[in-house]
């Protein structure tokens, strides 16, 4: 299994607040990693460091053999290979679903508009929203918005997908449709890092669950190991609260 991402001894603080305190992680091709942990523990910050939406102070992030830091000569190109899905969707409200999908492929990857539109249709079909191609984000439900956001990220043909609590802003009855899309994606072989507390999802598709607290990986293991037999007190406490 070839390595996609390698994080070594990552440190990040906001002013005096230390958020990441020497975090280590390796992710192999096709793996689905689920990150759990208490809020404020550094999960989101960690994801955001991977595609350099946040700068970090110490340590290394190596993606496909290249070091990602502020000195990297082409962060924009790296970012096209790392898709990100946000808690609050962040669709572009002034653009239709189709325009949301084709903007980056046309402007960044410079593929033709016709080709992009064909691809967008295929992608929307995949997430079950082809009929919404001309709709605007304001007219979609939360679950539909998130599925469009996933399709938008996939348009760039990323090597790695990051999900930052993709279902926590959704009404409970809309969570399922988003998780279904993510499960399909995981099963299709996409490499994914997912911050979520949906343990059912973790159990079904995660290769590994990582428990992060106070900016370090406290414990990691298969879903069975973590959920049935957590080694650390902190992990046990946390799981008791969310299960």
């Amino acid at each position: 299994m070839s390595k996609i991402l390698e994080v070594k001894n990552l440190h990040k603080s906001f002013g005096n607040l230390r958020v990441l305190n020497g975090l280590n992680l390796e992710v192999g091709q096709g793996e689905t990693i689920v990150i759990i942990g208490p809020s404020g523990g550094g999960k989101s910050t960690f994801l955001r460091c991977i595609n350099h939406l946040e700068e970090y102070q110490k340590g290394e992030i190596i993606f496909l053999g290249e070091k990602i830091d502020k000195h990297h000569s082409n962060l924009n190109e790296i970012r096209t290979k790392i898709g990100m899905v946000f808690q609050h969707f962040n669709l572009f409200p002034h653009m239709s679903v189709l325009e949301n999908l084709i903007l980056a492929p046309v402007k960044v990857k410079k593929i033709s508009k016709e080709e992009a539109i064909e691809k967008a249709k295929a992608m929307l079909k995949k997430v079950g929203l082809l009929e919404k191609i001309d709709a605007y984000p304001d007219n979609l439900s939360g679950g539909q918005k998130q599925r469009v956001a996933i399709a938008r990220a996939l348009m760039m043909e990323p090597v790695l997908m990051l999900f930052d609590e993709p279902t926590s802003a959704l009404d409970p009855e809309l969570v399922g449709e988003v998780l279904e899309v993510m499960k399909d994606l995981a099963k299709s072989g996409m490499t994914m890092i997912v911050v979520t507390h949906e343990m059912g999802f973790a159990k079904e598709v995660a290769d590994r669950i990582i428990f992060i607290d106070k900016g370090v990986v406290v414990e990691e293991g298969t879903p069975d190991e973590i959920m049935k037999n957590p080694k650390h007190e902190r992990t046990r406490n946390f799981l008791r609260h969310i299960l």
């Binding site: 898709g83 962040n90 572009f92 002034h94 960044v108 990220a153």
Partner: protein
Amino acid sequence: MEAISVVFENLPFLLMGALDTLKLTSFSVLIGLVLGTLIGMGRLSKIKVINVPSTVYVEFLRGTPLLVQISIVYFGLPQLGIQLQAYPAAIVALGLNSGAYIAEIVRAGIQSIPKGQYEAARSLGLTHWQTMRYIILPQAFKNILPALGNEFITLTKDSSLASVIGVTELMRRGQFVITRTFQTFSIYFGIALIYFLMTFTISRLVRYVEKRMAVA
């Protein structure tokens, strides 16, 4: 009665001035928009050599009287070897001035867009400039349209100051008529009405565009 008929007799002459006022204002707003957008973005830049001059520009042009600015451009610059005719000098001064106000409007507009929009665009690989152009500014523009309309109206009124350097816009032409007829009240009042008609029309236009954009 004579007081009223004097306005009507000179109406074509005054309306020519109103047209000049509109032209003057439109050119200035155009300059102001381009300048204001750049400086507004500059105000938000983390890079000091961009941020500091932008801030100084805004503070200085907002903190000094427009009449003084017009005088600097028209009477002052020739001493430095830059000679401008009255009309272009007025456009330059008004444009530079509105640039400062529009910069603040644009800055507020950009800040009104949630950070997630910027991050989503960057995470897709768009550059800072592409993100500004396709994602942030179009949304910001919609939000600041009422404020821009206000600025357009303010500038229409302020353009009357160009009369002091001899631009034959509405105010100046009114003064010509007064020196001929001595009808101070009716002419000044007539001019006021014409200004009001122009600003009122602009405000209606802006509201119309606003409504159209709210639908889209």
